[in-house]
Structures are given as structure tokens and as C-alpha cells.
């Protein structure tokens, strides 16, 4: 080894690195204007973010920072929120949700009719709309997409490549050939008129069509890409897919022929993965990103008072709870479950852990939903009453019980560990001795599904704005072993939920759900805790950004100030 020369080489390299590291000006200012480090020596936030938004041609580029990468860009075959967040910009469905609620608006369907018996839905489609690849959007395209989801044998179902359309199965009662599957027939009347014939009425059929999972992909693209469609999405949305660097970023660009005149306002949108929430906030402050989601509630107060940043909230769309396995004694006794509800101090949990961004929950349903029953009696913190109830059940001396949980942060519960500890303390006061057992997320789901639990901590987030998704999934006896983790069974509730599912009149449905909540509140299979309000932060340069409760909002109307 020639030492002198290698030593000199090392010196040279370190000198170059030193230059690169310390040069405040970064050499020549890049043509593209994109490197905001060149603004280094001055106050970074405002100026650098303004510089950074424009590249050479004065392009408007928005960077949206999120905590994880998308799993797939084929909307039907994924349930992941980070995937929907992106596909929402690229693909559209027949209907869409309003900006801040789950109210339905026309999208690719400009109008529709429902038959009186609720079995036939006719949609009148927008005309002159094209997919990003230039092929025309029409009724045939819609039919192909729905059939692809319903039928594993369909040429574009890609079942052998592991594609599963689980959202379709959950929301439409199963797949082709299943007893509960509601879509019997899809008829193309003409290029812009399509008819869905159902085997039984479904109260939330239209709500389902607003979900981002049922967006329409270009059949030509399905033919061209086959299973690679998950990495090459082609839709009718305001933005076209450009590239995807895994675990790093997804680049989208403006679709010039978008069906709505004047939209989108942005030229490019980039979804950037920044896993650590502190790092994400630093990136927002330094101007390297424009929007960040999943702000830690503890940081909300700081961001609120901060120049250059704006704090935003999403409407409540979830709830967290302590579940009680109704098949395991002593939880099989109603009095015991009610006692546990009285013993837990929900307000303390809401205050301690969500920095004020949560409200206590009395129903397993967010308050803005259809049929939410505000008249049910809340189980307010009352340890005395709890002890009385335990005595009634013959357990005045208390008992031992296990509480399982997973420390993974969830939207309805950023810190399950602390919640578990608070519950443990609360229950100790009424003589119930809780041992906490912690599990990793994946095995935790298995445990709870198999009913191998006594007390457990979980939650539920809404998808289509319909109460059925909460109440049936969690509390209908047919879902024991899948999403009914409390193994709750009450034939009266089952009947109310079934009738509400099949009713088409929304007022009738509201009434049935109200009644169901009364019974559920009395039976108390779960101690509902809180509804959380997710918070996020944006740079002041961002205009017209409205966060949606579903976590996937369209960026078509968003603009950047200069």
C-alpha cells in the first residue's frame, strides 16, 4: 500500500467533503431553483420554501410528507390508508365524498336513479372523459372494474398474483357466487348509462361508491400492465402517475385533459415518506415539505402559535375502546361489564394522551354519523357505582384478569401502553387486578380474532361514512372470529342491524341504528373511551387544502402561494 499517496488522497477527499458540508452558498445557485439549502444563512422557513416551490419553468410542486409508503397503487386490492391517499389523486369513482364529510356528490356519474324496491341503480355517466392513457371512459370500463373485483376468475383479477379485493368483499357482502353478495348483474345500457341490479337492498350501496377503493382503472391499462397495474395506475383523476421510488417518494404530475376545467392547480405532487414524526416536522419547518400528516398531538400547541405553519384537524372518524370478551367469565355477566365501564375514567385518558384533541365516547360510533344516538346514558366515571355492580354480580372481592394490548400507535390511540396503565389503575380501585400483556401488532390481531383474550384495547376507523361499517363489523354475531372481537351476540341487535342494512330509507335506518345503540349501551360489550381528532400541519403557502375524515382527500383544488 503506497501510504503517502493514499494519505494525500484521503486529505483531498476530506477537503472536498469539507467544502460541500460548510459552503453556505452551495456553489452556483441551481438552475432549477429547487435546492433550498442555498438560502441557508438567512431565516430558513419562509424564503426557502417560496424559492423551493418553483423549479426552472415556474412549476408549482407540492410535497406531502407521510409516515409510511403506499402498499400498492391499485385501489381495489389494498386496504391501506397510505395507498388510498395517493390513488385518490389518480383514479376516480362514480361518486365522491364532499370535502369535509361523507355526503355524496357526483363524480364520474353525473346523475343516478334508485328504483323504489332498492334493487336497481341506474347511473348516468359523464361524457367526453378520457383516462390518462387517452382511452375513453365509458360504461363498459365501469363494468369491467366491478367484475374484476367480484370474480377471482376474471382475466384482470390477477388472483394468482396474490390480488385480493377485500374491501369489495366486506362492503358488498362477498364475491360472485357468495350468498351475501349483493350485486347480481351489471348491465351496460349504452356508453354512458349503466345499471346495477342487486339481489337484496343495501342501505349504504351509494355510500360505498364514494369510497376511493372503488375507483375506475383504464381497461386498456389493465390489459397492458397486468398485475404490474399496482405500480402503474391509470385513471381519470386530476394527476397522472409518473414514478415511484419505494420507501422514498411517489411523483405525480398534472393531467392536462382533466374533466374539470381549471383543475388541478398544481403542476406536480410528490408524496414523500418520512417515518419519524419529529423529522417530519423539522422538514416542514425547513421548507423541504409543504404538508405533513400525523402530527403528534403534543406538538399541536407549538405549531398553532408558530409563524409560517398552520395547524389543521380532521373530523372525528374513529373511536378507541377497551373490549371485553363476552364469552369469558366473569365478563359474561352484564353487571361486571357495566362495572368496568363505570370504573374507567375516560376524561382522564382523553386529557392525558391526546393533548386535548379527543372527546370521550359513549357509543361505538362517531357523533356525526347517521343514527348516532345522543340520548343513551353515558357511563361516567363512578367507582362507587362500579363496586355496587360488582357486589350485585357476587364479586364484591374483585377478581384477577388479563388485559392484552399492542403498543403500536393507531389513529384512535397514539399511546396504547399508557392507556393500558391508566385502565389498570382505575380497575385496581374497584378491586379488579389487571395484568397487562403486550404483543406485536400482527400476532395481536390473531389473538383478538381468535377470542383468546379477556380484556383488550382496540379501536375502529370509518371508511364510507356509514354506521353499518362500525356496528355490524364490531357487534354483529356473524362477525365473531373476524371483526367482532368481543364475541358479542344479541339476536335483537343482529335483527336491527340486518334490517337497517337492507332498508333504503335513510330515516328508517337512523331509527333502527338508534335502537341498536340503546341495547348495546345496556349490554356493554365494550368500554368506549374516546374519539380522536387527528391533527396535521401545513406550511402557510398552501392554499385550499381541506383534510378529509377518511384521510384521503383530493389535491385538485390545492394551490401554492408565491
Amino acid at each position: 500500500m503506497k501510504l503517502k499517496s493514499s494519505w494525500l488522497l484521503m486529505l483531498l477527499v476530506s477537503f472536498v467533503l469539507f467544502l460541500a458540508a460548510c459552503s453556505g452558498d452551495g456553489g452556483q445557485k441551481s438552475d432549477e431553483g429547487a435546492s433550498d439549502e442555498t438560502e441557508s444563512t438567512e431565516e430558513s422557513t419562509e424564503e426557502s420554501s417560496e424559492e423551493a416551490e418553483e423549479s426552472a419553468s415556474g412549476e408549482k410542486v407540492l410535497v406531502f410528507a407521510r409516515g409510511g409508503d403506499s402498499e400498492s397503487l391499485d385501489p381495489g386490492s389494498t386496504t391501506d390508508g397510505e395507498s388510498s391517499r395517493v390513488t385518490k389523486q389518480i383514479l376516480e369513482g362514480l361518486l365522491e365524498f364532499d370535502k369535509e364529510s361523507f355526503e355524496l356528490k357526483p363524480a364520474l356519474a353525473k346523475d343516478w336513479e334508485v328504483s323504489d324496491d332498492g334493487l336497481t341503480y341506474t347511473f348516468y355517466l359523464e361524457e367526453g372523459v378520457t383516462f390518462h392513457d387517452g382511452t375513453p371512459f365509458n360504461a363498459e370500463a365501469v363494468k369491467i372494474n366491478f367484475e374484476r373485483w367480484a370474480d377471482p376468475e376474471h382475466e384482470y383479477a390477477f388472483a394468482d398474483d396474490g390480488f385480493v379485493y377485500s374491501m369489495y368483499g366486506t362492503m358488498f357482502g362477498g364475491y360472485k357466487g357468495d350468498e351475501g353478495h349483493v350485486i347480481e348483474e351489471i348491465n351496460v345500457i349504452n356508453d354512458y348509462e349503466i345499471e346495477f341490479k342487486l339481489s337484496q337492498p343495501l342501505g349504504f350501496f351509494l355510500q360505498n361508491l364514494g369510497m376511493s377503493y372503488f375507483a375506475i382503472t383504464s381497461p386498456a391499462a389493465l390489459e397492458e400492465y397486468g398485475p404490474d397495474i399496482s405500480e402503474h395506475p391509470v385513471g381519470t383523476g386530476p394527476f397522472k402517475f409518473v414514478s415511484w421510488t419505494k420507501n422514498d417518494s411517489i411523483v405525480l404530475e398534472k393531467f392536462e385533459d382533466y374533466r374539470v376545467e381549471g383543475l388541478p392547480k398544481l403542476d406536480k405532487v410528490i408524496f414523500q415518506v418520512i417515518p419519524d414524526p419529529s423529522a417530519r416536522l423539522i422538514a416542514l419547518r425547513s421548507g423541504e415539505v409543504d404538508i405533513m400528516d400525523d402530527l403528534n398531538p403534543d406538538d399541536a400547541a407549538v405549531v398553532e402559535g408558530e409563524d409560517g405553519l398552520t395547524l389543521l384537524t380532521r373530523a372525528e372518524n374513529n373511536f378507541g375502546y377497551v373490549g371485553m370478551n363476552t364469552e369469558k367469565p366473569p365478563l359474561d355477566k352484564k353487571e361486571v361489564r357495566q362495572a368496568i365501564r363505570y370504573a374507567i375514567d375516560k376524561q382522564a385518558i382523553a386529557d392525558a394522551l391526546y393533548a386535548g384533541y379527543a372527546t370521550t365516547s359513549k357509543n361505538p360510533l362517531p357523533p356525526v354519523y347517521l343514527g348516532y344516538n345522543d340520548d343513551v346514558e353515558d357511563y361516567e366515571y363512578n367507582p362507587e357505582k362500579a363496586k355496587e355492580l360488582l357486589a350485585e354480580a357476587g364479586l364484591a372481592d374483585g377478581f384477577d384478569i388479563e388485559l392484552v394490548m399492542s403498543p403500536t400507535s393507531r389513529p384512535y390511540m397514539p399511546d396504547p401502553q399508557t392507556v393500558a396503565e391508566i385502565v389498570q389503575n382505575n380497575l385496581a380501585e374497584i378491586g379488579v387486578n389487571v395484568t397487562i400483556s403486550s404483543h406485536e401488532w400482527a400476532p395481536y390481531l390473531e389473538l383478538t380474532q381468535n377470542g383468546e383474550t379477556e380484556l383488550f384495547i382496540l379501536g375502529w376507523s370509518g371508511t364510507n361514512g356509514d354506521p353499518d361499517y362500525f356496528l355490524s363489523s364490531l357487534l354483529h354475531s356473524s362477525n365473531k372470529g373476524s371483526s367482532n372481537y368481543t364475541y358479542y351476540e344479541n339476536p335483537e341487535v343482529d335483527e336491527l342491524l340486518d334490517r337497517a342494512k337492507r332498508a333504503v330509507d335513510q330515516d328508517e335506518r337512523a331509527d333502527l341504528y338508534s335502537q341498536a345503540q340503546e341495547i348495546i349501551n345496556d349490554d356493554s360489550p365494550m368500554a368506549t373511551l374516546v374519539h380522536s381528532t387527528p391533527v396535521l400541519a401545513i406550511s402557510d403557502n398552501v392554499i385550499n387544502y381541506v383534510p378529509h375524515p377518511s384521510t384521503s382527500e383530493s389535491l385538485a383544488e390545492v394551490d401554492l402561494a408565491n
Binding site: 500500500m1 458540508a21 441551481s30 368483499g169 390481531l445
Partner: protein
């Protein structure tokens, strides 16, 4: 020498084979299954069973293992259960990202560490020596993620000198050629971009390289001290050789072997996945790739990812062994 290298390369095969066996067993012994994670909390039991069937999770373990090995021999690292993409294609950009970061982190670690160690040994018990060793101790004790966050806070947020995250500016992505962005920007002759990419490398390299630097510094120092006591060094001095010549030409050469060992091991460790640094700096490296696969129970990715990392580690050790021989011709293989 050639025969030696060939022998070592042949030995790779049983080592890797053993690795696949171990990884496969561990991965399949962990509770939780990918079908449930993919389909999420609300999935009906039937959908989960169907997916398990399609994923081949119901086949007996030895069949699953056999399929995996057959694929490996054909260069097929398997298909990710989560993204359904081919792992061989997916893994390369992640590996390139980690390799680039590791290179610069080790460059930092070696330049600073070796020189600090040499000077400490030379000026043994001086203030420099004392301070250098204290810093080395602090460096080795400091949690990487804390150092990373502090760097971000100070240099990106407060001072605005360096970027907070990533390999490049999100708004202006590079057109990849090799996957090594520094190289790619040079190929494009886009020197402003090269500077930007290097700037993005500074903070993560320092965060990642601090522990190896500390270890290398201490090892260099102790190795040099030992060498400098030896007779032949006394002879060189007696012959009138200047201090500098003595240290850098004669002493260092002889002190290098243990230091080289440490450098090799540290490089292997860094390549194995600097998961904490990658998380804080959003570096799309192989550490995060495999870690997320573990949470997801993406068995093929876990198996192939660990295999690739083990392979890199073995290659680096081989290179180190070859370098030994170059440094010290007395070593016979």
C-alpha cells in the same frame, strides 16, 4: 493468492445455505401471518384463508423452503407478499442507497478516526490525546437516533445549512442510472446536483459514522502505541528518520492490521442496516426495507433481505483478508 480467493468464494456457498436455513426457520416460527396483516383488521375469515392458500402458506414448511431455494439458485429472490413485486428488482435501489451511505459514513469514520488515533498515539498523554479519547467515548456511547435528531434540529431547522432528510431534494428527483446518486449526477455532468446529493449525505454519514469513528480511533491509537514501542521503529529513529516519516510510513503500516479488521467489521455492521439512521433521515435503505418486512411478516423479503446482507458481510470480510496479505506479505494463506 488466486487459489485462496477461489477457496474463500467456494466457502460462501455453505455459509449462505446455512443462513437461509436459519432465517427460514426463525421467520416461520414467529406468530402472526402476512395474510392477516395485508387484509387488515376488518377482513372476513374466509378472505384470510383464501389469501393464505394463494400465498402458499398452507404448504408444508419443507415445500415452502424447497421452492425458495430452487428460486434462489435461478437468481430469483422471490416475490414480496406485500407489494407483489420481484424482490431482486426491489432490493437493488435499497441496497445502493445503503451502500452509498455506508461508503461516506466509513470515509468519515476512517479519515477522522485513523488520523485522530495516530495523533493521539504520537502525542500520547497530551491534551489532544485526552480530548480525542473523551470524544471517542462520548461518540461510542451516544445513541444514534438522538445524535441524528440533534443534527437535524441544529443544522436543518435552526441554521438551515443542510437538508433535513432524504437522499435528494424531493422536488427535483434525479434520473437514476446506477442507483448511486453521486455517481449518477456525475454521469449526467450535473455538478450542482452532485453538491446537493453530497449535502444530503453529510448529516446521515456523520450520525452513522460516529460510532465506527470512535472505535477506529481507539483501536488505531492502541495499535500504534504498541508498534511505536518496537525495535524497528527505534532503528528508524536512530537512522534519523523524521517523526512524520516514522509515524505515517513505518508505524502506521504495521499498526494497520487490527485497525483494518475493525474497519471491515464496522462496514459490515453498517451495511447490515442502519435502521435508526435510515428512519430519522428517511433514507430508503435496506435496513428499513427488511425491518418493515418483519412487521408485515413479508417472509420472502425477510429471508432474501437477510441473505443479501449476509452475503455483503462475507464479501467484505473476504476483501479485508485479501488486504491483510497486501499489507503484510508475511501472511501466508
Amino acid at each position: 493468492m488466486f487459489a485462496y480467493v477461489m477457496r474463500r468464494l467456494l466457502m460462501l456457498i455453505p455459509v449462505l445455505f446455512g443462513m437461509t436455513l436459519i432465517t427460514f426457520s426463525i421467520v416461520h416460527l414467529i406468530p402472526g401471518n402476512p395474510a392477516k396483516v395485508i387484509l387488515g383488521e376488518g377482513a372476513p375469515a374466509q378472505a384470510i384463508a383464501d389469501l393464505e392458500e394463494r400465498m402458499g402458506l398452507n404448504e408444508p414448511l419443507y415445500v415452502q423452503y424447497g421452492n425458495y431455494i430452487m428460486g434462489l439458485l435461478q437468481g430469483d429472490l422471490g416475490t414480496s407478499l406485500k407489494s407483489k413485486g420481484e424482490i431482486a428488482q426491489e432490493i437493488w435501489p435499497h441496497l445502493a442507497a445503503t451502500m452509498e451511505l455506508t461508503f461516506f459514513a466509513m470515509l468519515f469514520a476512517v479519515i477522522i478516526g485513523v488520523n485522530a488515533g495516530i495523533i493521539s498515539a504520537w502525542k500520547q498523554n497530551s491534551w489532544f490525546d485526552f480530548l480525542a479519547m473523551v470524544f471517542a467515548l462520548i461518540g461510542v456511547s451516544m445513541p444514534v437516533f438522538w445524535l441524528a435528531l440533534m443534527e437535524q434540529w441544529i443544522f436543518a431547522q435552526e441554521l438551515g445549512w443542510l437538508p433535513a432528510y432524504g437522499r435528494q431534494d424531493s422536488r427535483d428527483p434525479i434520473a437514476e442510472i446506477t442507483g448511486f446518486y453521486v455517481l449518477d449526477s456525475l454521469i449526467h455532468l450535473d455538478f450542482e446536483r452532485t453538491i446537493t446529493i453530497l449535502k444530503h449525505l453529510v448529516l446521515p454519514s456523520i450520525a452513522l459514522g460516529t460510532i465506527p469513528m470512535a472505535i477506529i480511533a481507539r483501536m488505531t491509537r492502541s495499535s500504534m502505541l504498541e508498534v511505536m514501542k518496537s525495535d524497528y521503529i527505534r532503528t528508524v529513529r536512530a537512522k534519523g528518520g523524521g517523526q512524520f516519516l516514522v509515524i505515517y510510513k513505518h508505524a502506521l503500516k504495521n499498526a494497520t492490521i487490527p485497525v483494518l479488521t475493525v474497519i471491515g467489521l464496522q462496514t459490515g455492521v453498517l451495511l447490515g442496516g442502519a435502521i435508526l439512521t435510515e428512519t430519522i433521515f428517511s433514507w430508503p435503505g435496506i435496513g428499513r426495507y427488511v425491518y418493515e418486512a418483519i412487521s408485515f411478516r413479508d417472509y420472502p423479503v425477510i429471508q432474501s433481505g437477510i441473505l443479501v446482507i449476509a452475503f455483503m458481510f462475507v464479501i467484505i470480510n473476504l476483501i479485508v483478508d485479501i488486504l491483510y496479505k497486501k499489507i503484510d506479505p508475511r501472511i501466508k494463506y
